[in-house]
Amino acid sequence: MLVRLTVDPDACIGSAECVAVDPAAVELDESGTAFVLVSELEEERAKEISDACPIGAFSISPL
């Protein structure tokens, strides 16, 4: 099932754990803040990215 993945840039602390898990879906901008490259993706893949974030900056919502 496809879901929408979003990240709260104010919450992101730039640990890069999400990028390490799925560099094709998430990247860091020049200030070290995560942003989502692929916002609609499989739920399992979104969950893996979200779970990797140490401070829970990602949200997953239905399309």
Binding site: D10, I13, G14, V19, A20, L28, E30, S31, G32, P54
Partner: protein, 383 residues
């Protein structure tokens, strides 16, 4: 006032511990000045906006069930398990602490230079508010004193809107890190037009609300509008805890992060050292360890016997330069470039530390390499 667990410190580690305890249904009291917040220099946004990076507001604390005492501990009686707290609102409060977690991190005092006590700083909530107030108009001439991680990040961030000079006693920025990191940082600072003055010796400072002059014996007088102190760190531990060594930065703990010799006292974050199975007793003064050690202490208090094992990891953004380091650099005796990773190997040839420059997607590879302690690959290029 009594509670089953008292957490002293409201930074990343203290809050992570308190939140984990509360999530598991434990009664928890967290003591610290103001609302829990991340350390200001770790957030570039904070420096740009002046907003403190809060970890939770009062409503969220209440919803979690964390009792917050707004103040600082001024006396600690470990034998009687009691604390005295000087409250921000005035007065004092006695707190019973049958189980106690110490998570006060490090202090970042201004260096003892005559006149330097009026320099700005951004290591505290109060300092951040004062500094950003001084920098509301672009184009200010700012001198950042101290080219460690905090000072270098601060200089790079401020350079977007201000005329920044970074000074240090040593001859290169980030001198405590690997030479290749220093070189990359220096290149980035140059691209941001940050002047770096190395081997600089400041004799005294004249600072008031109108401007400042740093009197140096190496570079003459340095005129500027704002001086930011980012030099050095000290222990935050009270004498009741440090015992014979008042300058101790960390409390020695066992593998559950329980302070040795104190059955009801735990420590986490910057102010704990623990026995790492590969590196021996180490402390890790970085964000990642602050978070995970805080959570680990909560689990230990709730009955977990799992040992704390976390490879040292830090990350830093200096302008567009992203630095990440996994492992224990002190154990590396030889460095080489291997498949885009800077790998430091120990005397046995195993990966002890991996450095990533602008390669955040390789973090997993770096962790795997250090975890495996993999043998030296046959073809390596000496760095």
């Amino acid at each position: 006032m009594s509670g089953s667990v008292v957490v002293v410190g409201n930074g990343v580690s203290g809050f992570a511990c308190a939140a984990r305890l509360a999530d598991q249904g434990a009664a928890v009291t967290m003591i610290g000045p103001g609302l829990p917040h991340d350390r200001p220099p770790l957030s570039k946004r904070s420096l740009r906006t002046g907003r403190l990076p809060l970890l939770a507001d009062a409503e969220q604390l209440e919803a979690k069930g964390i009792e917050h005492v707004d103040g600082v501990v001024t006396a600690c009686d470990l034998a009687r398990r009691r604390l005295v707290v000087s409250l921000t609102a005035g007065g004092t409060l006695d707190v019973e602490a049958p189980s106690l977690v110490w998570a006060t991190g490090l202090r970042y005092p201004r260096p003892p230079i005559p006149g330097f006590e009026r320099a700005e700083e951004n290591a505290t909530a109060v300092g951040l508010a004062s500094l950003t107030q001084r920098l509301t108009v672009p184009g200010r001439r700012v001198v950042v004193v101290g080219a460690g991680l905090i000072g270098t990040e601060t200089a790079a961030t401020l350079a977007h809107e201000h005329d920044v000079t970074l000074v240090d006693m040593v001859d290169r920025p980030l001198a405590r890190l690997l030479p290749r990191v220093s070189e990359a940082a220096r290149t980035t600072l140059d691209s941001l037009h940050v002047r770096f003055l190395g081997s600089c010796s400041i004799d005294s400072a004249s600072i008031d609300v109108h401007g400042a002059v740093l009197h140096t014996s190496t570079h003459g007088d340095i005129d500027c509008d704002v001086v930011v102190s980012a030099a050095g760190f000290r222990s935050s531990l009270p004498p009741e805890l440090t015992g014979v060594d008042p300058r101790a930065l960390t409390l020695p703990a066992d593998e559950q992060l329980r302070v040795i010799g104190q059955d009801h006292l735990w420590a986490c974050g910057d102010c704990v050292s623990f026995p790492h199975p590969r590196w021996g007793r180490i402390g890790i003064p970085h964000w990642d360890h602050a978070l995970w050690s805080g959570r680990h202490v909560a689990d230990a208090i709730l009955g977990s016997s799992t040992p704390y094992v976390r490879e040292p990891y830090f990350f830093s953004d200096i302008g567009s330069l992203r630095v990440q380091q996994v492992g224990f650099a002190d154990a590396a005796v030889e460095w080489s470039d291997e498949d885009g990773l800077g790998v430091g190997r120990d005397e046995g040839g195993s990966a002890a530390c991996v450095l990533l420059l602008n390669a955040p997607s390789r973090l997993r590879d770096a962790r795997a390499l250090v975890a495996a302690g993999s043998p030296r690959s046959p073809a390596t290029t000496h760095a």
